[in-house]
């Protein structure tokens, strides 16, 4: 099959009419190029959007309390209530599928006044009371010192981990940060660490201007008793938080004597569902890219098939001679198929290479001109390349099949008669 004579012949046939071969090859080249570029563009958009999620654990929901809207068990409606610190244990015991449960409290926030003082400098920051687990749900990189640990929670230590943005506001350049004190709403906290967050979207700067203190110290210092502002709950891998959220909300309603049908009393945001929605959007986009790309490729393939038919027609007499000399039909079929696959594969590989070059150029341009919103690192995986090559071989086979059949259908006597 792979002997020299056969290859020599394939090359002889394909090079006998360069212009025609090139035109035919261009159809396949164009098809695969479009497929690759579409897939890469889709991937770029996907990367861009996913970067907006940052490092946040996506299998997470946030849950908070609001006012009740229904009277229940002798309690009136329009009642304010709050999650309690013991709710954490309740969820832990009832839902073994949960990985992290982080009760949180917050001070300051949007348009809050200055609440942090160091020496003569002041600033307005979000102050969070947190458990150590939060670093797994809202990941940050500790750039110096350490994060909150369980002893801090236990001993209600007044310590703080501050963002790089806070450091640049309150400290002089090069100043030692860890070991200094800052005054948060009139209470002194010892800075034990600094962090940096990786986040690509607009509030990246705000992400660096936060202060984390132990939950227990926060409650004590700012008079929150055992109240919890909201909770970030992450499920274990393999269980989606979406499937758990109904029963989590149900359990909390029961605990806090909220009417089971009160839809307003407990609010939540399901990050996983949002993420999945985006995921399925990209699934649809990939499908469209393949659909359009394969269709364009198909017209190229039909071109190849067409040309192979013409080649067979032109060589009818030659095929007749060969058969008179004793060439077997399968050998003729193989010849036509190999010519078709060879042409498809070569032009397809040119298309893939050119597409890769194009993507490389776009990436270089993106790198040079800074990040573009919602578009990051367009690329195609090795899997896509292998997939495209498979598509090419299969389509080469398909393109050659009909011409090959027509080549062996001609009886040698008829082929020889054509003058």
């Amino acid at each position: 099959m792979f002997n020299r004579d056969r290859w020599k012949e394939i090359l002889e046939v394909l090079t006998s009419n360069w212009f025609r071969t090139l035109l035919t090859a261009f159809g396949v080249f164009w098809g695969i190029l479009i497929l690759i570029i579409l897939l890469a563009a889709g991937k770029g958009l996907e990367n861009g959007i996913k970067a907006d999620f940052g490092d946040i654990a996506t299998n997470t929901m946030f849950i908070w309390t609001r006012r009740t809207t229904k009277a229940y068990e002798g309690l009136p409606k329009d009642r304010d209530f709050s999650f309690k610190i013991e709710d954490r244990a309740l969820l832990e015991n009832n839902f073994p599928e949960l990985r992290f449960i982080s009760p949180r409290n917050q001070l300051g926030g949007f348009r809050g006044g200055s609440n942090v003082i160091r020496g003569i400098k002041t600033g307005a920051y979000n102050i969070y009371g947190d458990y150590p687990e939060i670093i797994n749900q809202d990941p940050m990189q500790i750039t110096s010192g350490r994060f909150i640990n369980h002893n801090d929670i236990q001993d209600k230590r007044k310590i703080a981990i501050i963002g790089e943005g806070v450091v640049s506001d309150l400290y002089d350049a090069g100043e030692e940060v860890v070991g200094t004190y800052i005054k948060i709403s009139g209470v002194n906290f010892l800075v034990v660490g600094t962090y940096k967050k990786r986040n690509n979207d607009g509030d990246g700067e705000e992400g660096q201007k936060q202060i984390f203190v132990p939950f227990t110290a926060f409650s004590q210092a700012f008079n929150r008793a055992d109240n919890v502002g909201w909770m970030a709950i992450t499920a274990k891998d393999g269980t989606s938080i979406t499937s758990l959220k109904e029963s989590i909300v149900g359990a909390l309603k029961e605990k806090h004597k909220v009417h089971p049908e009160d839809q307003r009393a407990i609010g939540y945001f399901d990050l996983y569902e949002q993420y999945n929605r985006v995921e399925s959007l990209f699934g649809a986009m990939r499908f469209i890219a393949y659909f359009v790309g394969v269709l364009v490729l198909l017209s190229g393939i039909i071109g190849v098939s067409n040309i192979m038919l013409i080649v067979v027609k032109e060589r009818t007499k030659e095929i007749g001679i060969r058969r008179a000399l004793g060439e077997k039909p399968w050998s003729i079929r193989l010849q036509i198929l190999m010519e078709s696959i060879f042409l498809t594969l070569i032009s397809g590989m040119c298309g893939i290479s050119f597409g890769a070059l194009f993507i490389y150029g776009v990436n270089a341009l993106l790198d040079a001109n800074g990040p573009v919103d919602m578009f990051l690192n367009p690329s195609v995986s090795m899997g896509v390349v292998v997939g495209s090559l498979t598509i090419l071989v299969v389509s080469g086979l398909l393109a050659g099949f009909i011409p090959a059949q027509s080549a062996i259908k001609v009886r040698p006597i008829d082929a020889l008669r054509t003058e």
């Binding site: 020299r4 004579d5 002889e12 006998s16 007499k317 030659e318 007749g320 001679i321 060969r322 058969r323 008179a324 000399l325 004793g326 060439e327 077997k328 039909p329 399968w330 050998s331 062996i408 009886r411 040698p412 006597i413 020889l416 003058e419």
Partner: protein, 234 residues
């Protein structure tokens, strides 16, 4: 060597069918040089095509070297053609993008003979037809007579049992015709069985036996005294 009994063949032309061969009986021994003559439409080419397994008879028997030729699959037919038969056509039918040597080597390629041996044999046969120096030329660089000699070399390369020539001199002038016939006679002298279809009397008389076909039947079958073509060739 060749044995046919009561061979019939008809072609369908639309609604009516054309009975071309109406019961042909004929035997050819090994080493014979037979001319098949007849006017156009007499069925001589059809007969040759059937003998060459390019076409199949409707009824009748055909034995080639003791092997019955009947209901062959295309693959089997290709194998038998390669093994038993060599073809020489009026229009030479060389493959025009292959050199003379490659053309001659083609039947050997289908026999899966190795490249080197193939080329050696091709050169040997080209030498026999006096075209060794032209081995690497393409057919369109050769004259008509040279092309036909390459075609004969190609037909001989597979060492077939029977050589079938369909109007081998039809496209040549008389001088080259005689040269080609001289070559055919020489090959016959070496003991090869050859069938020549022709409508030229002088060519037919260079064979050893003439069969006349008319309207699908053999009207005359006679042994003749061979005229040596070499007497015309200087």
């Amino acid at each position: 060597m060749i044995e046919i009994k009561d061979l019939h063949k008809s072609y369908k032309m639309g609604s009516n069918s054309l009975h071309v061969l109406k019961g042909i009986n004929f035997t050819a021994e090994e080493g014979e040089l037979v001319a098949i003559m007849g006017s156009s439409g007499s069925g001589k080419s059809t007969l040759l095509n059937i003998l060459g397994m390019l076409d199949e008879a409707d009824s009748g028997e055909y034995n080639l070297d003791g092997v019955p030729i009947k209901n062959l699959s295309e693959t089997k037919a290709a194998k038998y053609r390669n093994k038993f038969l060599g073809f020489v056509f009026q229009s030479f039918n060389l493959i025009n993008y292959k050199s003379a040597m490659e053309n001659v080597a083609l039947p050997l390629y289908y026999q899966k003979v190795g490249r080197k041996e193939r080329e050696e044999k091709a050169i040997k046969y080209l030498e026999q037809v006096g075209l060794k120096e032209w081995a690497h030329h393409l057919p369109n660089e050769l004259s008509g007579g040279q092309k036909q000699r390459v075609a004969i070399a190609r037909a001989m390369a597979a060492e077939p049992k029977v050589l079938l020539a369909d109007e081998p001199t039809g496209a040549l002038d008389s001088k080259t015709s005689y040269e080609v016939m001289d070559l055919i006679q020489n090959i016959n002298d070496q003991g090869n069985t050859i069938l020549v279809v022709t409508h030229e009397e002088d060519i037919a008389h260079m064979c050893k036996r003439i069969i006349h076909l008319r309207d699908g039947v053999i009207v005359e079958d006679k042994k003749i005294k061979q005229v040596r073509a070499s007497s015309y060739v200087q």
